[in-house]
């Protein structure tokens, strides 16, 4: 009598079992897809550069001739890259540390204003600093020529150094502000309690605790300077750098062996610095761990800190004044026309913008939206598998996914050309390769945002879901993804602004028939059409701010509805 009941129960169990199996299968497939993509889109392109530079994939056998050629022919570019990189990294770090300390000790409207300036810098496209440089300090510059009546040649290494240094500051400063906000207020109070005056606190406690962070800034700025081809091409004049030469090589001659070898000169130090960077980040985390992250401002009266304090204040003020001038100039000059030295308001360029670049703008936005969604989802899943699951080769994959953070854009771009220009993976000329490139270039930061957010999701929630009968997929769907909601927002916003403004890595991948806004901007600057360039730059900035504002509004409204 018992038998039928037993059987039917057995049947139900087995169908449940099947569902479970499917879930586990999907789980494995997702993991394989993630790991496979990382290998294909990060590791493989890098390998291709190495092989090509040694002529191993061309067919004429192993030779170092390209290296020899680059080493002998580009001595001055190599030296220049090194010189500009070192000086601009030092200058940039000085600015960044000053601005970070200054902003962390400030509160109220002044801080709000400065943070707004930093935000605008973060979401504005590259090349704007060069563009503003020419308009403000150039041959017919507003300041050098019209205000001071100077006539000088602005196209040299020092212009490049200054503009690079200034344009790397916002990211570094925000990074350092993050470190400062995690500093243990107790250490500062203890130092004060033991008799340390503000200057001594800054020197003995604040700066030493920031030291790994400061070194990271130096490294990042140096690598960014090495990778930057836009600034030297536009305002470098006769002083050229390796990155600028790579750009000219690929655009002009398409000698891929030679440009691979040139890229190796950038790639090797970048990878070396990448490992240094990871070690420094670990040290920085250790110095700030255990401190309770209360979001209070640093209680340090900077004006009573002696010469160091005054230096920080002066450098930050200089930075913010220059940034305000820069963006004021960009926003204004799109609407001004000059006839015989007299400026008047015009909408001429405004009309030009929409007739010439309208569709490009729309394309940029669409690409960026797709990359933001895809990249965010990828990063969330990847962070989950890395943080919570025992994946074989975890540290290797973690390292691989972070690698593009330090890779010069030109390397990442040329790697993609070499890796994906023949069957079965012929992607060159498609939109897919551009979006994949953007996504993997931005993945290091996206993954980091998600991992940080994941640490807020307690492990016992996962255990509870499994304990109550949910499989792996249920854990992801019901615990992990909802827990990552806040990360989704910041990830999306980061991805969107980066995709709208990235230039370095995709400049070689863009199909001429499917331009993006950033390259219209580059062309306009390069051909001297400064008013149109300014307008494109402003338009990009405004679009990014608008879309991000919209995303925040939607999520805020959504949250409000859920609460009510």
């Amino acid at each position: 009598m018992n038998k039928p009941a037993f059987q039917s129960r057995g049947k139900r169990v087995s169908s449940k079992e099947a569902l479970f199996r499917i879930g586990e299968g999907v789980d494995k497939l997702v993991l394989l897809f993630l790991l496979g993509s990382v290998c294909l889109f990060v590791l493989w392109p890098m390998t291709c550069i190495l092989l090509r530079s040694l002529h191993l994939s061309g067919g004429d056998g192993f030779t170092l001739s390209s290296y020899v050629q680059v080493w002998t022919k580009y001595q001055s570019a190599l030296r220049n890259s090194l010189f500009i990189g070192i000086v601009s990294a030092l200058l940039c770090t000085l600015f960044s540390v000053s601005a970070a300390v200054f902003l962390s000790t400030r509160r109220g409207w002044m801080k709000g204003l400065c943070m707004a300036v930093l935000l605008v810098c973060m979401v504005s496209p590259p090349f704007v600093s060069s563009l503003a440089y020419i308009q403000l300090y150039g041959r017919r510059g507003w300041i050098t020529y019209r205000l001071l009546g100077l006539s000088w040649d602005p196209y040299n290494s020092w212009g490049v150094i200054w503009m690079q240094a200034l344009s790397f500051v916002p990211m570094n400063a925000l990074f350092l502000i993050g470190i400062l906000s995690k500093l243990d207020g107790g250490s500062l109070r203890a130092a004060r309690d033991l008799g340390a005056r503000p200057g001594a606190i800054l020197r003995d406690v604040v700066l030493p605790l920031m030291r790994p962070g400061i070194l990271v800034c130096l490294l990042l700025s140096f690598v960014r300077s090495l990778a930057d081809f836009g600034t030297p091409v536009i305002i470098g004049g006769r002083s050229t750098t390796l990155a600028a030469e790579i750009y000219l090589q690929v655009v002009g001659y398409s000698d891929l062996e030679k440009s691979s070898a040139m890229n190796m000169f950038l790639l090797v130090p970048s990878i070396a610095f990448f490992f240094l960077y990871r070690a420094l980040m670990r040290r920085s985390d250790r110095l700030t761990e255990g401190a309770r992250g209360k979001q209070e401002s640093l209680s340090l009266p900077l004006f009573r800190c002696g010469p160091l304090g005054w230096l920080a204040v002066a450098m930050s003020l200089l930075f913010f004044v220059m940034m305000t001038l820069q963006y004021g100039c960009i926003f204004l000059s799109g609407f001004l026309k000059s006839t015989k030295g007299v400026y008047s308001f015009t909408l001429k360029y405004w009309h030009q913008l929409w007739t010439i670049s309208g569709s490009t703008m729309v394309r940029s936005v669409i690409y960026s939206l797709i990359v933001s969604l895809g990249g965010t989802l990828f990063a969330m899943l990847f962070a989950y598998y890395m943080e919570r699951r025992r994946v074989p080769g975890r540290s290797l994959f973690d390292c691989l996914v972070t690698l593009p953070y330090m890779l010069p854009g030109t390397c990442f771009g040329i790697g993609y050309i070499l890796a994906f220009n023949h069957a079965p993976l012929k992607l060159t000329g498609t939109a897919l390769i551009v979006m994949a490139n953007m996504m993997f270039k931005q993945l290091p930061t996206s993954t980091k945002i998600c991992s940080a957010s994941l640490t807020q999701v307690p492990v016992y929630l996962e255990k509870a879901a499994r304990d109550l009968g949910g499989g792996q997929m249920a854990v992801v769907r019901d615990v992990i993804l909802p827990g990552l909601r806040p990360a989704f927002l910041s990830c999306f916003v980061y991805n969107f602004s980066s995709s709208m403004t990235t230039a370095g890595s995709i400049i070689f991948l863009i199909d001429p028939g499917r331009q993006l806004a950033v390259f219209k901007l580059f062309d306009a600057v390069y051909t001297g059409d400064y008013a149109l360039a300014s307008l494109i730059a402003s338009a990009i900035t405004v679009i990014v701010l608008a879309v991000e504002g919209l995303v925040f509004l939607i999520s805020w409204k959504g949250a409000a509805r859920r609460v009510s």
Binding site: G185, A190, D193, G195, A196, R197, A200, E289
Partner: protein
């Protein structure tokens, strides 16, 4: 009186945190300020340490008005609840940091630092980094760092709250011995009734920013000022050591 607080007031926005607080303490004595969280005890400590400026009232230390002195110029040091140790320095560098501002030569500072480390039983850890030592050891470093500058007054803000029960009992005893040996005047803030009764020469019981009772612990035990104090202490029985020191307080579940 060596330390004298008179009519201290402090408000945060519209909330009065400390109301008309006055008491005094003799040199070489240990005072415990006892109360549940939010009673204003830490605010009081911060005013003595100079991290908060009182809205009204006066603080005298050894005959000097220190009400308006900033922390770095007060002859007062604090052992913070979170210790506030410098993570980028070694144990010895942490301990000797305050000597820098007293013009103490480096060699002498080192010698003195080692002596104080020995006093708290950490001589072998001089070169260790802060993250390499345990919570209890960090606690001792913080204590040595506060005492080495020979302050006129040492403040302790729930210093044992991050330690487990057994360690807390041990540290309690060590602190008391150290305080007697150095003849150090201390103000100790806690919400632990037993800790207060065992450690203190005087106890100040606070509630909602007011001082409810101020006396020797046994006086408070035998003659609680009101039903609140009696309930708050909640002492059921006391266990004494052979030498007459209080060993343990047995509480009847203690309604806080």
């Amino acid at each position: 009186m060596y330390l004298e607080l008179s009519h201290l007031n402090k408000r945060f926005e519209d909330r009065e945190v400390v109301k008309d607080l006055s008491f005094g303490l003799e040199r070489g004595e240990l005072l415990c300020i006892l109360g549940s969280s939010g009673c204003g005890k830490t605010t009081t400590l911060n005013m003595i340490g100079g991290f908060l400026r009182p809205d009204g009232g006066q603080i005298l230390l050894d005959g000097e008005d220190i009400t308006d002195l900033p922390p770095e110029r007060r002859p007062v040091t604090t052992v913070f609840q979170s210790y506030g140790l410098f993570p980028h320095m070694t144990v010895l560098q942490n301990v000797t940091y305050g000597l820098k501002f007293q013009g103490c030569p480096r060699a002498e500072a080192r010698k003195k630092g080692l002596r104080y480390l020995e006093m708290v039983g950490l001589k072998d850890y001089a070169a260790a980094r802060i993250h390499e030592i345990s919570g209890g050891e960090q606690q001792r470093v913080a204590l040595a760092r506060a005492l080495i500058v020979e302050p006129k007054l040492c403040l302790l803000d729930e210093p044992f709250s991050n330690l487990d029960a057994a360690l807390r009992v041990k540290m309690r005893r060590e602190l008391k011995t150290l305080q007697r040996d150095l003849d150090m005047t201390m103000v100790f803030v806690t919400h632990d009734q037993e800790e207060a009764m065992i450690l203190s020469d005087h106890m100040a019981i606070m509630r909602e920013g007011r001082l409810i009772q101020y006396d020797r612990p046994m006086e408070i035990y035998h003659h609680p000022a009101d039903a609140f104090v009696a309930r708050f202490l909640g002492v059921k029985d006391l266990i004494w050591e052979p030498d007459g020191r209080l060993l343990k307080v047995i509480r009847d579940g203690g309604a806080e």
